[in-house]
């Protein structure tokens, strides 16, 4: 059979346009390969880290799982790429990963210049101070002249310098490269204060020889809204990642947990019915199965469960909800209506 050149050209063109006619390219690619490639942190306990058996655990890991549960109905369809701070945005830009869930702070310059979109914040962090209780310091304002243990080259050092300058206090930084050495130095008493992100401070205090001897000061001197990110170019995929995070928050607002989600399917509350897909509509709007939110809650849990499981008061980190509580409890976690 002989085809004219024109026929071939038309066929190729129609094939190409057929490709574009469906959903966005990232979502298509993800659906085609059958799993999500998530960029995660390689070694931050509670957020993204393999356990003794090499199984990924953490708040950010659970966020990636929620996205997989929404798209595939199976939270285990995730592959993890551990990334360093330098690699993380390149990996997203180059398509090595589909979604970045690696405690990245959302900032204006990152959002505008790196070709990526952050979605809803999944953890509100901020930089704080820890001191030995025996110093009797109650507020960061009393830290004038203190020696401060800090990691080099991070925004942490910059923030601390800004804080001490704006409050016209002297300080002496003790700069140490690795987190575990930094903690050792602080517990050995070589510096009066340890400064780091509040979530890290809690973890560090947990490994102190005597955790009760140390206090975290109330002042938070920087804003670190940590959010997942996707690259530009596929708004539908962005929406799905965004609403996967929001679904966990909304589930907590509605009182739906992984334990009671099956009973809640029988609820008469239209908000619950819409959320769980009993009243259809949300799934079709996102281009997903109507049970997408049910799958997230059933397999991963609501935000409160995820938080308590990974970083909450009963874990080694022992972090209070604080800013990460629901807005009804004085926190910042707030979900738009699911309708």
């Amino acid at each position: 059979m002989k085809m004219s050149r024109l026929t071939v050209l038309v066929m190729i063109l129609s094939l190409l346009t057929a490709g574009f006619a469906f959903a966005g390219k990232d979502l298509d690619a993800v659906k085609k390969k059958g799993f999500i490639q998530a960029g995660v942190n390689g070694g931050v306990f509670g957020f993204g880290m393999p356990d003794e058996k090499g199984v990924w655990k953490g708040l950010d890991v659970d966020t990636a799982k929620a996205v997989a549960a929404a798209i595939f109905g199976d939270a285990s369809k995730v592959k993890y790429t551990p990334l360093t701070a330098q690699q993380r945005f390149t990996a997203l830009q180059s398509g090595e990963i589909d979604v970045l869930t690696r405690n990245a702070t959302r900032t204006l310059s990152r959002e505008t210049q790196l070709g990526l979109n952050f979605v809803t914040v999944n953890y509100y962090d901020g930089q704080g101070f820890m001191v030995p209780k025996k110093l009797g310091v109650k507020s960061a304002k009393e830290l004038g002249g203190a020696t401060v243990c800090v990691l080099p080259g991070t925004t942490t050092e910059q923030n601390a310098a800004d804080y001490f300058r704006s409050n016209s206090m002297d300080w002496k930084p003790v700069v140490i490269e690795s987190t575990s050495e930094l903690a050792k130095t602080f517990f050995a008493g070589r510096c009066d204060v340890l400064t780091s992100d509040a979530s890290q401070l809690a973890g560090t205090r947990a490994v102190a020889p005597n955790p009760k001897d140390y206090a975290i000061l109330p002042e938070i001197i920087s804003k670190e809204p940590l959010a997942p990110a996707v690259r530009h170019g596929d708004d539908q995929f962005r929406d799905i990642v965004d609403f996967a995070v929001l679904a966990m928050i909304n589930a907590e607002e509605l009182g739906i947990t992984s334990q009671n989600v099956d009973e809640m399917m029988k609820s008469n509350d239209p908000m619950v019915q819409r959320f769980l897909g009993v009243i259809e509509g949300n799934g079709a709007a996102l281009g997903l199965d109507e049970k997408w939110a049910y799958n997230i809650v059933k397999q991963v849990g609501n935000y409160g469960e995820v938080f308590e499981r990974n970083v909450g008061v009963n874990t080694t980190l022992g972090i209070e909800r604080g800013l990460n509580a629901l807005w009804t409890n004085g926190g910042l976690m707030y979900s738009p209506p699911f309708k």
């Binding site: 690619a29 390689g42 070694g43 931050v44 306990f45 880290m49 393999p50 356990d51 003794e52 058996k53 090499g54 592959k79 790429t81 551990p82 990334l83 360093t84 330098q86 690699q87 390149t90 990996a91 830009q93 180059s94 398509g95 090595e96 987190t179 575990s180 050495e181 903690a183 050792k184 973890g203 947990a206 490994v207 020889p209 080694t316 980190l317």
Partner: protein, 363 residues
């Protein structure tokens, strides 16, 4: 007056202070005031350091307990190693399948030991290695004989370290030899290319090459095309090591007397034959010690892949240490790693000395 009998053995004995232990001590440790001083200082230092270390490492230590039990002791908490051994050694390799990388490493070790004996250096050795490498690849990747598929992204820990090192060395050596020959070439294009390559690679640290391979390189690829992270690091290590090998081999080539080339010419050998039969065998023999030096540092340099988030054995250890339960026991973990690296490096340098002795034919 009676003289003592001269022939009596007693009188032939040297003074007690000149022989035996005391004599040796006087001769070697206390033969001048500054040596005596040094000896005393060193003894004091040893006395200060060794017993406390011994007590820390062996007497007050625990060997296999949960992390909580380590809180209450003063000694070393070696428990961090056995309690995390499967992650430290094999990283993300699925839990029930870890006999596979174990077997693969044993196979590799067996092949290396087999190859140590020069009697085995025949064509069949190449075949054994091919079979061995295929078997290792199959064991690691799986997918046949009911073995679960494990993609390269999950190859980590000690197998990754060995893989990066072994393939780095094996691929870099021939490349380095070609580069060295190219640098000596009379063809200007080839010569310039080789010189530029060698000097450029030698002018930048391995870290920057690794960064380029992991951060910059993906940006140049067309969208949607990604190359395996492990492969990118492996190529960076090969390219880096090859440049150093090239310079060492060039040293060997330049040490060859003019007469060797002339003799080869006079019996009518062409360039390939001259190099293959006359020059390279001699030149490579001369450069065994510096080559081994480079291979050793290449082996240790593989640990730099930590900075691009590949989980070699150093990274898996560091991750273990970032678990709050085990954070405090970095000393023990790093000592374990040091011993591991020492065993490998010592075996390599030991073998090179043996090889040198065997190949020493005199010149």
């Amino acid at each position: 007056m009676t003289n003592p009998p001269v022939s009596s053995r007693e009188y032939l004995k040297p003074p007690i202070t000149e022989v035996g232990v005391i004599g040796w001590l006087r001769g070697n440790l206390f033969n001048s005031w500054y040596n005596s001083l040094l000896t005393v200082v060193v003894l004091i230092l040893l006395w200060q350091l060794v017993p406390p270390f011994f007590r820390w490492a062996f007497i007050d230590s625990v060997w296999n307990t949960p992390a909580e039990a380590c809180r209450d002791i003063d000694g070393a908490c070696w428990s961090i190693i056995p309690r995390n051994i499967s992650f430290i050694l094999f990283g993300f390799f699925p839990d029930g399948e870890q006999w596979r990388p174990g077997l693969a490493m044993a196979l590799m070790l067996g092949l290396v030991i087999f190859s140590r004996n020069r009697k085995h250096w025949k064509k069949s050795l190449g075949i054994y290695w091919s079979i061995g490498l295929i078997a290792m690849g199959t064991l690691m990747y799986g997918g046949v004989f009911g073995m679960q598929v494990v993609e390269t992204a999950r190859w980590s820990g000690l197998p990754l370290t060995f893989m990066l090192a072994l393939f780095g060395m094996v691929a870099a050596y021939p490349l380095g030899v070609f580069l060295a020959l190219g640098r000596q070439s009379r063809m200007p294009a080839i010569k310039t290319l080789c010189v530029v390559y060698i000097e450029m690679i030698r002018g930048v640290p391995l870290i920057s090459l690794l960064f380029m391979s992991s951060v910059m390189f993906p940006l140049f690829l067309p969208e949607g095309v990604t190359i395996d992270k492990v492969l990118r690091a492996q190529v960076a290590i090969i390219l880096f090591t090859a440049a150093y090998i090239a310079e060492v081999v060039r040293g060997g080539l330049q040490a060859m007397p003019r007469g060797q080339f002339e003799a080869a010419d006079s019996i009518g050998l062409n360039y390939n034959q001259t190099m293959r039969l006359i020059i390279l065998p001699q030149a490579l023999k001369i450069v065994i010690p510096p080559s081994v030096g480079i291979l050793l540092s290449a082996f240790k340099d593989t640990s730099l892949v930590v900075i691009i988030a590949l989980y070699d054995v150093l990274k898996t250890t560091k991750v273990t240490l970032s678990n709050p339960k085990w954070t405090g026991y970095s000393t023990e973990a790093y000592i374990f790693l040091a011993v591991l690296y020492f065993i490998c490096c010592y075996a390599m340098s030991n073998y090179s000395r043996k090889l040198e002795k065997e190949l020493h034919t005199g010149r």
